[in-house]
């Protein structure tokens, strides 16, 4: 088991944001979390990456408890994240953003260089804009940069928080095919999406969250054919 979350409880002040959430991700999988805004998807992601401290429960990464670790150490274990809203360093160039992505691996100069070439190969648009301030990129390009930046840390588990948010429909499709490619290269993916339909199409398994609780957990195929899921999240 790559990632295992057991009975996670998270509070924001008096608000109970996650109630006893349990979730598992096997190596090599794409797992998606779907649900409305405020359901707790982002909170789960943020707990895994150490930005939010759970009050109780545990998170195990490859058997190791990580819920008490600071965020920057979790990155070194091999968990990368493209955060919601992309959060690129818009006052720095595309290249500097990617370099910061490899912050934990600075001693491996040659490898980092190689990885950067790989990211540029995967996202040719970024190569074209290498020296540009990332704040001047379009939304789609910024999303690519956010994913590329996360990949620079050579994560074994990639957390993607709403990668398709606010992108034009044709860009949304290309983002999903990129996720599939990344997964094919051996990176396990945990994906949070509003776009439930697309997400379930590429995922192996899915979790449906509602008001801080896991409502359903099943294979994507089963979720896609589940009537209540179709009505509530797929808009049919």
């Amino acid at each position: 088991m790559m990632l295992q979350i057991r009975n996670l409880d998270v509070y924001y002040g008096a608000i109970h944001a996650l109630e006893s959430v349990s979730l598992e991700v096997e190596e090599g999988e794409i797992v998606t979390m779907i649900g409305a805004n405020g359901a707790g998807k982002s909170t789960t992601i943020r707990s895994i990456s150490g930005l939010v401290r759970p009050r109780s429960g545990e998170i195990l990464f490859e058997g190791k408890p990580i819920h008490t670790m600071p965020a920057h150490q979790i990155v070194t274990l091999g968990i990368g994240q493209s955060p919601e809203g992309r959060r690129v360093f818009s006052n720095m160039t595309v290249r500097e953003n990617l370099e910061l992505g490899a912050y934990t691996r600075a001693s491996h100069h040659a490898e980092v260089k190689q990885d950067m070439e790989k990211v540029f190969h995967q996202f040719p648009r970024l190569k074209e804009r290498e020296a540009q301030l990332s704040g001047t990129l379009s939304g789609g390009e910024q999303q690519m940069l956010a994913i590329g930046r996360a990949l620079m840390a050579r994560p074994r588990l990639l957390l993607l928080d709403e990668p398709s948010l606010g992108l034009a429909p044709f860009l949304v499709r290309s983002i999903f095919s990129i996720i599939r490619e990344i997964n094919a290269q051996g990176v396990t993916v945990l994906l949070v999406e509003q776009n439930a339909n697309q997400a379930l199409k590429i995922a192996n398994r899915g979790y449906v969250l509602e008001t801080g609780r896991v409502l359903l957990a099943d294979t994507s195929a089963n979720l896609l054919s589940n009537d209540s899921v179709r009505a509530a999240y797929l808009g049919e």
Partner: protein, 373 residues
């Protein structure tokens, strides 16, 4: 005419020297503001600590060294000592404010209270034992530290559940004021209320004459300028071009995103405190090292305020801006000090500030940031 020119040049030289001191302090304000977005009012008091460290270094610990050795040694001591104090302040007060109080803060607070134990009980031990003052202070502090830390860890584990971290800037500011008052009054309690001054042997007055114009200044003032220029250039290089510098910029732009890159944000924040405080400490030593300016424990407040004004004048968040603003302010102040308006010297910095902010709210070298709607 020559007299007027001489007066002008003299005031400009004095102004640049004063400005260099402001610059050394202003850089710390601007860096901390960059990463934490709050005005660290305790920063000026670190300057005061630097002045006292210089006093004890030159007059005591290093008095056997050669003049140049004394200066360089004292400068290094100030850089290191004040850097540590800056980091300690951050660790003691600002980090618990940011992240909440928890068992991880036990040792810092343990050390803090233990030093008080050393301060009060140390002299008693000294009287009744063969130990010297310093040794008894260290021994008592060490014992108290060993006792306090586990107790505080226990207490903070309990407290951690009810104490919420605060991101409120006002809270941070009041904390900074508290720390400032603490340093100032504790300084007065330890160092006494009488103004002190010292004179490093390495510095001497210089007379320059050319074409009927004679300029008098202390070589110390040249040293201030030189050190300020070298240190700030080094700093600008670090921030612009090194990996750590990029990390500092990333943290000040978006601390959460920076953490997701694996950047240890808390350590980077502590580092900015170390850098800023060591520069301020260096300023404290250099400005007082040639015995022309007496000081006591409250020196940091007024000077700190002015350095802060310089940082805002240049554009808060920008290191080059802080240096530029500081030099400008030093020169302007000294020009006014040498004129008929000399009684208003202390006000001129604020007047310039208000005038500049009216026309360019981001400061002279600051960049415009539009708020996302």
């Amino acid at each position: 005419m020559a007299a007027a020119l001489q007066h002008l040049l003299q005031q400009i030289i004095n102004g640049i020297a004063a400005g260099s001191v402001y610059a050394l302090i202003a850089v710390g304000y601007t860096m901390v503001y960059g990463v934490l977005k709050f005005i660290n009012f305790a920063h000026g008091d670190v300057y005061m600590v630097g002045a006292y460290v210089g006093l004890f270094a030159v007059g005591g610990v290093l008095s056997n060294l050669s003049p140049v050795g004394q200066d360089i040694g004292a400068l290094l001591l100030c850089l290191i000592g004040c850097g540590l104090i800056g980091a300690f302040i951050e660790r003691l007060a600002y980090r618990p404010l940011r992240n909440g109080l928890g068992p991880q803060d036990g040792w810092v607070w343990g050390l803090f209270w233990a030093s008080y134990a050393g301060l009060f009980i140390g002299p008693v031990v000294e009287q009744h034992s063969p130990l010297t003052g310093v040794t008894s202070f260290v021994v008592v502090t060490g014992i108290a530290f060993a006792i306090f830390t586990p107790l505080l860890r226990l207490l903070f584990t309990r407290l951690g559940r009810i104490v919420m971290p605060s991101r409120n800037r006002l809270t941070a500011l009041i904390t900074a004021i508290g720390i400032s008052l603490l340093l100032e009054n504790q300084g007065q309690a330890v160092f006494g209320a009488t103004p002190r001054s010292y004179k490093s042997q390495g510095f001497h007055p210089i007379n320059l004459s050319a074409g009927g114009v004679t300029l008098n200044f202390n070589s110390g003032r040249l040293w201030i300028l030189f050190t300020a220029v070298v240190l700030t250039m080094l700093l600008v290089y670090i921030v612009r071009h090194t990996r750590t510098g990029k990390a500092i910029r990333a943290v000040s732009f978006d601390p959460e995103a920076a953490a997701l890159m694996g950047i240890p944000t808390d350590r980077i924040i502590a580092l900015t405190f170390v850098i800023g405080s060591s520069l301020a400490g260096a300023g404290g030593f250099l400005n007082h090292s040639f015995g022309e300016i007496p000081f006591k424990a409250d020196i940091g407040i007024q000077l700190g305020l002015k350095a802060f004004v310089a940082a805002v004048l240049g554009g808060i968040g920008s290191i080059e801006g802080a240096v530029f603003g500081a030099l400008l302010m030093g020169v302007a102040e000294n020009l006014v000090a040498g004129s008929a308006f000399n009684a208003f010297t202390d006000a001129i910095a604020f007047v310039i500030l208000i005038v500049v902010l009216l026309f360019k709210p981001t400061g002279l070298l600051g960049r415009n940031v539009t708020e996302k709607v």
